[in-house]
């Protein structure tokens, strides 16, 4: 699997995710600066976490207009896999590659802690190494992860099986939603399930020496699906 990690001014988890990608695929990803109009041929494009443009105005809003995002859109249309984590998820919604938007957390505070995520489907490039309903413990670290979309949109997402992860209790039941997200949504796919956006950080749960390895399955899934 060849991957490209896009760096925006203010990205700050690009090395975290590059390490996780390399650990699962055996290949170092290439880094692409936001000002580039082209992305080298790759199997996966990653928009990492961070505070692109300081998160000023709205998280991800300015990054969504970067020159590189035109290339990301074109590739996504061609079916290239795209993963946006945290700020990357915010950028993908602002760029219209994923539905919905991310508002400030219901508690109005930045939260950094492990959360439980229920895997909603194992039928995707990103989750094939997980079991459906498997519960993962993965860190979150954000101030604006409160997923909103209008009711019809949410029904459609659920109906088409496009919710990837939900916040849940350790036993998999609902009732532990850290940020007020609609229907406990922590991550969503696009229609073709080739684009995934999620708020929690699987890349910070992929190394046995540091925390859990519950997030590693996502990168293993990608490595398996993208050969």
């Amino acid at each position: 699997m060849k991957a490209a990690v896009v760096i925006f001014p203010g990205s700050n988890r690009e090395h975290d995710i590059a390490a996780a990608l390399e650990a699962s695929s055996g290949r170092k990803p290439v880094f692409v600066w936001h000002g580039e109009a082209e992305i080298p041929p790759v199997d996966l494009i990653v928009l990492p976490g961070g505070f692109s443009h300081g998160d000023y105005l709205r998280c991800g809003a300015m990054a969504a207009h970067s020159p590189v995002m035109r290339a990301v859109k074109t590739r996504a249309e061609q079916g290239v896999a795209v993963l946006g984590v945290c700020n990357g998820f915010q950028i993908l919604t602002e760029a219209g590659l994923l539905p919905g938007a991310l508002l400030v957390n219901a508690g109005r505070k930045f939260i950094c802690r492990n959360v439980n995520l229920r895997v909603e489907t194992s039928q995707s490039l990103f989750t094939n190494r997980y079991e459906r309903d498997q519960v993962l413990s993965v860190p979150m670290a954000h101030n604006e992860g409160n997923y909103v979309a209008d009711g019809d949109e949410l029904d459609r997402l659920e109906g088409e099986g496009l919710v990837a992860f939900r916040y849940c209790r350790a036993d998999g039941g609902t009732g532990d939603n850290p940020n007020g997200s609609a229907r406990d949504i922590a991550g969503v796919f696009n229609r073709s399930k080739t684009v995934l956006g999620m708020m929690p950080h699987p890349e910070n749960a992929s190394d046995p020496a540091v925390g859990s390895i519950d997030g590693k399955g996502l990168f293993d899934s990608l490595a398996a699906a993208l050969k």
């Binding site: 300015m62 207009h65 938007a101 400030v104 109005r108 007020g180």
Partner: protein, 80 residues
Amino acid sequence: MKARVRVTLKTGVLDPQGKAIGHALEGMGFAGLGEIRQGKLIEIDLAERDPAKARAQVEEMCRKLLANPVMERYAIDIEG
């Protein structure tokens, strides 16, 4: 010219900031408060001298960047 853009959350979108302000004001003894909503105010100095053109330009800024149509709406005031 000067443009003033007011970006507010759509009705129906929960506004935790507004709620917290209401809470705090009540805690301080203010009574008779209804809903409180917090939005953004963006003030822009423009070289454009023609109010209609200025408004059109700022409209475009709002559509492209300043507001997110999924959750926000905007209003524009143009001043001398």
